[in-house]
């Protein structure tokens, strides 16, 4: 009965409609979600955060890791976009956890043109986030984690480069009131902005600042005894409309998993397999497919994780 109530609360939260033209803020790659497992669960991972993606979704999940995780992911995105992630995570006995990660995103083949439409050069745009996360469990049921990240963006104009970087913070809380139920709150991308100087590019260069909006994530997940996990997350962005995310995962005997989810109405699905490499070393290969949202083409994501 308690479970049913919980499910109904999570599933019947109304979907919100994305407002018209709410994008255009700095560093959108930080707000996309990543990892095949998380994406196939609609990105509703804030209160799951039990693998190598914990540092990204909720650093407070790190102390609950039981193994060391080495994770890498590759996304096949349309429109010449790149989006990759690599991380190392482990718990630090008895109560702490640590992770290092690198998130890289970018766009290539940008068709440079002058004021008459003549092709000039092909440009590219590259963004990175280098994160270090530390978390501590203050009680069996409560942990707090923080991530410090260096965020960079570089606009490569063939003969000029424009770049900017800043420090940003994430802070997360994981609360486990009863066994298998996790509640989580994370605030991401605090205190960051890109400052741009166009002195070298334009005749009368200027300095402009693009603030990176912070995002508040609140989520819940529940793991049933039969290996089924359901999760939800709500994102409240400083500048954009809230988003609701839902995910479901069925894991069978630590062998394979099937997953599905919805990110603000955009459905995704995927699965993963797990096998033993040798001794205590295991590997997971996860896949997710996210259909196109606005006709840009679907996204295939692969994640590969070693645990040992």
């Amino acid at each position: 009965m308690r479970n049913a109530l919980f499910i109904s609360v999570m599933l019947f939260t109304p979907l919100t409609v994305i407002a018209q033209g709410e994008g255009g803020f700095a560093a959108p790659f930080l707000r996309m979600g990543l990892g095949a497992r998380a994406i196939s669960m609609g990105g509703a991972f804030t209160a799951v955060a039990d693998d190598g993606f914990a540092a990204y979704y909720n650093p407070a999940g790190l102390p609950y890791l039981t193994k060391r995780h080495f994770t890498t992911t590759y996304s096949f995105l349309s429109l010449d976009r790149r989006f990759h992630y690599i991380s190392y995570s482990q718990s630090l006995k008895p109560t702490a956890g640590l992770s290092l990660y690198w998130l890289a995103a970018g766009t290539d083949n940008i068709d440079g043109r002058d004021l008459s439409g003549n092709h000039t050069f092909d440009y590219s745009d590259a963004s990175n986030a280098f994160g270090i996360s530390f978390a501590n469990r203050f009680h069996e049921s409560i942990a707090i984690g923080i991530t410090l990240k260096i965020i960079t963006q570089n606009l490569d104009l063939a003969d000029e480069n424009l770049s900017s970087n800043d420090l940003a913070f994430d802070a997360g809380l994981m609360f486990i009131p009863v066994e298998n139920l996790k509640l989580a709150v994370v605030i991401k991308d605090l205190n960051a902005s890109f400052s741009w100087s166009t002195q070298d590019l334009f005749s009368l260069g200027t300095v402009s600042i693009d603030t990176i909006p912070y995002t508040l994530n609140a989520g819940a997940s529940y793991l049933f005894d039969n290996g089924l996990t359901i999760s939800t997350a709500a994102l409240f962005n400083q500048s954009q409309q809230e988003r609701m995310r839902f995910g479901i995962e069925y894991r069978r005997d630590e062998l394979y998993s099937l997953r599905a989810g919805s990110d603000d109405g955009a459905f995704s699905f995927g699965g993963g397999v797990r096998y033993q490499v040798s001794g205590g070393v295991y590997t997971n290969i996860d896949y997710a497919f996210r259909p196109e949202v606005v006709g840009e083409g679907g996204t295939h994501l692969f994640s590969w994780e070693f645990t040992f």
Partner: protein
């Protein structure tokens, strides 16, 4: 020269090219004279920054653009192109243009990628004496290494030879009735040629602390417009010329230090400046002589170089001895006369005076009468009224004209056709796009999305960020005929804010009138 003043001068030079098409160094660097652009009305114009308009013989209108020289002899139906390869024209944009009968002289400049901290490099002059049929190239006029002195009235003064083309850009040319040519090159000084540009002589103007240079004045000064280290100026401001007009034996040269008059073809000089004659600013970037009903009016567009000077037009009715300010705070680029009427092309629009330059009225916003498109700039660089009563204006956004006293306009623009590269279905331009710099109109800047339709269709364009979050609906279900089209976006999102720097993705959704549809994606990099 103070640092502050140097900064002003550097800034001023930058401003000259700000809206021209060598605002990005890479544009000129990629100068491809084989890549024709065409004029979307009928024919081809080399570039959309039209900096000079001069009327010549055989009804030919000469057009200087940020990408080279054009002319039209059929009132804009077709355009001739004068390129580096085909003719002996210097590479780069047109920095000065003068025409007298069949004599046409053009000066070009480009941004040299190998030169750090340079504004631009003079690529020389080209002269035609047969109305543009054939051309002779003249290397950017400069000095031999041993030209370390100059003789004035039998006295020797020290001179610094100008031996390189960097920053040696000719910004104005004047031709007199006897084919004497005067040029003003910012770092290269004032020069005169009486043999159609084969040989050149330096013109010595008074130094900053003297108001005249005659047989009786002090001859103890140097002629050194520049020393070659990072714009350091050791010479006087008055040896850094910018503008010139000449007729008969009269020559008037505008410099960073005032306006200099000579009545003996450039031997003796009399200087007007803010200290002695009331001009609005010492930096005279454009000069113009207006003669109507036997009355002569001299006009000078000035820029401030130090506190107390200001932008504006100065006007003189006594041959340049005394000046008054008539249009302050306007950054004027060119003048033109049509009988009693004087036109001024300025950063904030096109101005007209019917009382000899005392009072000025601006033109209302310009809209193409046939397409309904606004002119996406307020920056006017040049203006001329041709004998058939057509008023032409060169702007930062193309060449425009009106035949009916500005009640309706035609906007001619250069745009690269999609048919030349079939793998490209759409492009955005300029790319990168700076909302605060490009195609400015009414507080917004605009980027164009260029695409082609095979039949009449309904078109929508949405803009997304990297995460495919909708940024803006730039165009909503507009109806367009078969052909190539531009749609515009002002770089703002649904909140009305200019978007953050970065790459945006636009999606053109075409619904054909015969049924069926197409979707094309493109990218635009926004750099505020």
């Amino acid at each position: 020269m103070t640092n502050r003043m140097q900064k002003h001068i550097v800034l001023l030079l930058f401003t000259i090219f700000l809206s021209s098409e060598f605002a990005y160094s890479q544009v000129v660097r990629n100068y491809e004279i084989t890549e024709w652009v065409y004029l979307n009305k009928s024919s081809r114009l080399l570039g959309n920054s039209v900096t000079d308009l001069v009327y010549g013989n055989s009804n030919r209108l000469w057009i200087g653009t940020g990408r080279g020289l054009n002319s039209t002899a059929d009132n804009g139906l077709s355009f001739d192109e004068y390129t580096h390869d085909e003719f002996e024209i210097g590479i780069g944009g047109v920095s000065a243009l003068a025409v007298l009968g069949d004599i046409v002289i053009v000066a070009n400049a480009f941004d040299d990628p190998d030169v750090e901290e340079s504004n631009s490099t003079g690529s020389g002059l080209a002269i035609s004496t047969d109305n543009g049929f054939s051309w002779t190239h003249i290397d950017q006029p400069k000095d031999s290494n041993d030209a370390v002195f100059e003789l004035i009235y039998g006295d020797t003064i020290d001179a610094l030879p100008v031996v390189i083309n960097v920053d040696n850009v000719t910004f104005d040319i004047a031709i007199t009735e006897d084919s004497t040519i005067y040029i003003t090159s910012f770092a290269g000084g004032s020069r005169k040629s009486t043999d159609l540009g084969v040989t050149w002589n330096r013109i010595v103007l008074p130094p900053d602390d003297m108001d005249s240079l005659t047989a009786f004045s002090d001859h103890e000064f140097d002629l050194s417009p520049v020393d070659n280290s990072n714009f350091g100026v050791t010479g006087s401001l008055n040896h850094r010329p910018f503008s010139v007009i000449a007729w008969g034996d009269t020559v008037i040269i505008g410099t960073a230090g005032g306006i200099n008059r000579s009545y003996d073809s450039g031997v003796s000089w009399f200087k007007s400046n803010t200290g002695n004659s009331g001009i609005s600013g010492n930096w005279a970037v454009v000069l113009h002589r207006h003669v109507w009903n036997g009355n002569e009016t001299l006009l000078a567009a000035t820029r401030p170089t130090v506190e107390g000077e200001f932008l504006g037009i100065s006007l003189s009715r006594d041959g340049g001895e005394n000046w008054r300010t008539v249009l302050s705070d306007e950054r004027v680029w060119n003048f033109s006369s049509d009988d009693s009427v004087i036109y001024a092309a300025a950063d904030s629009g096109l101005f007209k005076s019917v009382d000899g330059g005392v009072t000025w009225a601006s033109f209302p916003p310009i809209i193409d009468g046939a397409t309904g498109d606004p002119l996406y700039t307020q920056t006017f660089y040049s203006v001329i009224k041709t004998p058939d009563n057509r008023l032409w204006a060169g702007t930062a956004g193309g060449l425009i004209y009106t035949d009916n006293n500005s009640s309706s306009w035609t906007i001619l623009r250069a745009v690269k056709p999609l048919t030349e590269d079939l793998s490209v279905r759409t492009y955005s331009y300029p790319n990168p796009f700076s909302p605060s710099r490009h195609n400015r109109l009414g507080g917004d800047g605009y980027v164009r999305f260029h695409y082609s339709l095979s039949e009449r269709s309904t078109v929508s364009i949405n803009v997304y960020d990297f995460s495919m979050t909708l940024v803006a609906k730039a165009v909503k279900s507009v109806s367009r005929d078969k052909g190539e089209w531009d749609e515009v976006w002002n770089g703002r999102n649904g909140f009305g804010s200019v978007v953050a720097n970065g790459t945006y993705f636009y999606k053109i959704i075409v619904n054909k009138s015969s049924g069926g549809g197409e979707v094309h994606w493109g990218k635009v990099m926004v750099i505020e």
